[in-house]
Subunit: 407 residues, 4 copies
């Protein structure tokens, strides 16, 4: 083993499984380790500490291992300043660039540890040495010459520690299954929402068009009116079907009052799009009195920050839809970074995964979908903060609205 | 075309698609037809009538075609008496036996049309010429020498006609999807249940253990207490987990009050089984005061007819479980034939399909499952009486109980 | 019934179910009809003809009905010229605009029937009266003053007639289920592909990243090299994971040679993106010898027309990705209209639905996905040309490549 | 903390996560612990050892904790003999009975450690003190007065240790997903099968009827003829559809040669049942030359041990079907205990779960289903020996047969 380095880890590292995962990772990646110092808390209240010498056959493997260890919260024992290399061209990074996680990260600049801004995973870390600042930056937004962090030196990642107390976000994540009691989860989600609103935190809803098709729109409207929705992400489809429902009482041609397919009503969504495009925008249609109910209407009326992101499936689209996806990401990112503490994602795989990519690990996230595969994908973000519910969007929203507004 | 026969069909045969399906079927099976007489209603209130000469290359193909036509409601123009052949041995049928459908069927005996008893699909028709009676009989229950109907002569099948009025059982079947409004369907199901109970009809619930795991047991208990459940079919699992929940507050080791897994609670279902086996039976445990809440308790207390059918997955099993599956079918059949007008099947593919096989097409059936594949399988019974809901069992039962008991 | 109009329909309208569907539709929408002339083919080779007087309570309902009838292939008996109204502003249509179907449509201009160009559903029909031409035009591409078709006059839609001969596209659509023999379907798909290539038709593949994750990339590469892929639609993900696989042997950090997760290999997809962004483009990376294997490489080498459409989930993205979704639609549309005769869509709901929206009904389409819901959504396009296979993308592609290249 | 006990654990307990899980479990159940002795291997080759004092608020909680610890492989430091209590009646156990796991278990009788026979989970442990033997016994088979183990004393459970070497059974279990390379897994499954057959071990196939519907029967027949199937578990459906396919070329009325539905062919499965019931049994039909191809035929011809277990969905049933489910379990258990080293379960949730319940943790198990939920349920048996493949049964069997017979 020709290369070695010392790392250390402390905290509730046995209880949380972090130590086990660390040892596992080192060995899985072809490395080896020797425990040099160890102190285990004898009782659950006491933290533990361990220092390992990690060895690997080559320097390249060692670097791989150290990066993986870092993402688990094991950092190098001997701190040095972070290394940076200038970006070779606009939108491209130097080789060996450090790819961020969604965990709180600090960077050592001029001997001082600085917290990175806008924490988000799979981004580059760009350092401003003069202002002693570091910011998580999308590859596409890096400019030639920016000081981009490379390697694993001078970085410190803080793992999320699992709360042992009973809470929805711990109990739900244990298993993604439709065969779990949901009314309990819904009650706890409602309680969390209340607390967040009491301290003026923001709640983000990410929603798919099934909400409209199933007639659950009015529950979401109720939540907006009651102040439980500050930000809303969706696509052209939910906007179109919501407007279709507001104007014609149908969604994808299904009459929401009777559940019957209205033959030819299929064209209603094109008419809805055209009506708004004639008016100029959804907001203009509200102002002109053309649109006077529905989710979009309530969002406009209650000042909900809204990003409608485009996709290649879109008809129309609605004027508010941001058709450039990179621009849509920028707008979503800005909303997320403006104080969102909780994200509730319902019946949309595309927008939910896109949003999940942008969220720091500290944002409490609830994913609701009737398809277990969608919930599993979202809930597997390596965060203790994600609760996955395999359930029915309509009945979930109905129960949530009842839990929040009946009190 | 060496073989031919005349068939006729009447009623709302254009509107219902029956005529189209008939022509299609003849051609798909390699036959041909010539329309000999036709009278189409000019308006939707008027019935139509058509008589076709059906031709086929061989007598065997013709018979195949005629059987298929019959199951669509097209019967031979010239009526003859039914043909029978004695069963060759106990539990076996003569070659060429007629396999029943779940549609109302009449048999021509001594020149008179007699309705078959115990209509059910995939059975044999056994005729008692002296009593001028015919009964749908499972293959296993046929005795050597029984007069078993063969071929297609002397049979008349009445197709279900679709009601054009808006009703849940027509609108729901149009599409099996989670993306349809369910609160409407639930309201209409509740209304149908009320009507059936007003005329003292019986309602059958077929239920899987997920009802207990998700904490939805109390909603089902409420429906039992309110008189909306006369018959209950299930397996060992729902009984076991219900008793586990009543005795220990857990289901499969998950605490239903907190949603947390109780480590080691996994053994609770074995303890529940043992407790009942010690008492002798579920009913005995209720009597002895050992079991004083839950679905099983309410069934015992309110005289719900119950069949718990065994499966090879079973632990224990509970003493009431009928471990012989053919015997279980017999008991289920007897319950179904004693006046069941509606069947509500929730979260159990095995018991739902088994029950679906036993039901005549006239029983209104609701299938609820979070897995679209289960709903599709059940809803595809060629009956207008099946409403499939892709939804969450817990939230469905909660809404249904609310709709029925809140009024 | 205050409004009425005469429509007629001819062809194999009983056999195909079209007549039944027509009568059904009229009544479902609240209309009534009287058959005024009818001639039914007595044998299956003979076409039928029917003329109906359709009545409705209001002119508005009648128009609704006529539009629905038209989409089934029943056209007005008395032909008049098409009506147009100028578009009120760029990107918006006049009220009452006609929304297209994916069926061949003719427009009557100056007394002559002209075939519409670029047939695609949910678009507007813009007429150029001087050149006596009509073109299906996306709402967003309509310019103020364009002559847009309104109402239902002067339009003729030709329904697809079902081929009664046995072919994969008829037999597969009968049921979307994993429980059907697939080797047969694969053999017939392969045969169809061979025929299309013999007459120099184009085959379009629409592919998701699971193809790479499952190690099925090499099968697709083989199909490209063998000349069975002329156009490829996908997203940033398949491009990224394909390049990741070509450069590092992993896909999403899973080693494709061993199936083991390479810890830390998670960052490989970011490195792959960066490598290509440094090179400037995928094509440039191929030219520079940086990228020398994989699906993208083969596409570049064999001149496959490629549209990589952006989505809000994208990291990077790859330089070739079209980040504006409306622009991406335009490029996809252009490819589709340049002679695509068959579309094979594998493991991507987003791109498959987007592509399905653009295809005329005559393009033979195969949808392969392990999730039945995706297949159902795609296969429900009201076309006899869609074959849905619920299957495993990897094993499907392996079998298809074997069927096409082993001969 | 009024109750305490000492437990110890040794082996690769850090690497395998066992120690972490142990500490976690103690705390989750409301206990506390103090590490009294600890020795951690410094390198991965070295085993570790730890002794803990476990404390709990009550004796009852402590017992709960100790039972859970035991199932993780942490046993009491001070060994005493096992405690037994006589069974109170036939088919019922004493209170506090010990419920088995599927891990190798030893019982201390008269100061000596004896391995329990017929290891299987959720059974009682019945001791024969004179013969110094212990056997895992189903609740239903316990007789009044049998010496049944209660509590946690005198028991030693050996946890499965994870092999760190790359093998299909470790890599596959990491994630149940359709998005993983399967050809690799299939190659390794084939290799494992070859090795087992070289040492004359038995391979069990558990199969559902979809194998026949999809036309994959011939691949299974090939595996039988090549000696890769010693035991086969299934139900009435696979037997019926296999015979239907052998006699009429259809499965559930679908022609397996063309994939077309043969209208009326629906009755073929009833005719198949009747043909075999007339003959007396499947074996008799083979002998009489009535059945001369198919899976059942090959099983009879090659002496495959077969258990066809009944279910309430069954028509007929086939004479070989064991209609009593408890008797069917007994027969399955006997087969499993006669040397089965590997179980391959394809497309049957019911029979797969039933079989999974009977298998000791040492049997290598492969679960193949197109529905991820089925695979997840089966793969979650807490064993490193289960590989779950979300895939297509037909294409899986085709690839497996090719991998095994092409060499």
């Amino acid at each position: 083993m020709s290369a070695s380095e010392r790392i250390e880890m402390s905290g509730h590292i046995i209880d949380s499984g972090a130590l086990m995962k660390l040892m596992d990772t080192i060995m899985d990646l072809g490395g080896d380790f020797e425990i040099q110092e160890q102190h285990y808390g004898r009782r659950k209240e006491e933290p533990s500490y361990v220092r390992l010498e990690v060895r690997a056959p080559t320097g390249k493997v060692l670097e791989q291992i150290l990066l993986s260890c870092q993402s688990l919260g094991a950092n190098l024992s001997e701190a040095t300043d972070v290394h940076t290399v200038p970006a070779p061209r606009d939108g491209a990074l130097p080789d060996g660039f450090y790819s961020t996680t969604n965990l709180r990260t600090e960077v050592r600049i001029n001997g001082r540890w600085i917290g990175a801004q806008d924490q988000e995973m799979d981004l580059a870390l760009v350092v401003d040495p003069e202002r002693e600042a570091a910011r998580c930056t999308p590859m596409a937004d890096v400019r030639e010459g920016d000081a981009v962090v490379v390697g694993h030196h001078g970085l410190r990642v803080t793992p999320l520690e699992r709360a042992r107390e009973r809470e929805v976000f711990s109990f739900m994540r244990s298993e993604v299954s439709s065969e779990r009691p949901k009314q309990l989860a819904i009650a706890e989600i409602a309680e969390t929402m209340r607390q967040i609103r009491q301290r003026r935190g923001k709640i983000l809803f990410v929603v798919g068009p099934a909400i409209i098709h199933t007639g659950a729109g009015p529950y979401l409207e109720e939540l907006i009116r009651s102040g439980y929705v500050q930000v809303l992400f969706g696509g052209n489809a939910i906007a179109t079907h919501d407007v279709e429902s507001a104007l014609y009482g149908t969604s994808l041609g299904v009459d929401l009052g009777t559940g019957m397919t209205v033959e030819g009503g299929h064209a209603n969504h094109m008419r809805a799009l055209n009506t708004i495009r004639q008016a100029g925008s959804i907001a203009a249609a509200v102002e002109q009195g053309i649109l006077s109910r529905g989710v979009m209407y309530e969002c406009v009326r209650h000042g909900v920050e809204m990003v409608l992101a485009g996709s290649i499936r879109d008809d129309g689209p609605m004027p508010e839809v941001v058709t450039d996806v990179i621009e849509a990401q920028r707008l979503m990112r800005r909303c997320v970074q403006s104080g969102v503490e909780m994200a509730i994602m319902i019946s949309t795989m595309l927008h939910s995964i896109a949003t999940g990519n942008l969220l720091p690990a500290t944002v409490k996230t609830v994913v609701v979908d009737i398809n277990p595969a969608t919930v599993t994908k979202l809930a597997d973000r390596g965060s203790f903060q994600v609760a996955g519910l395999v359930s029915d969007a309509e009945l979930f929203l109905s129960s949530l609205a009842q839990a929040l507004t009946a009190r």
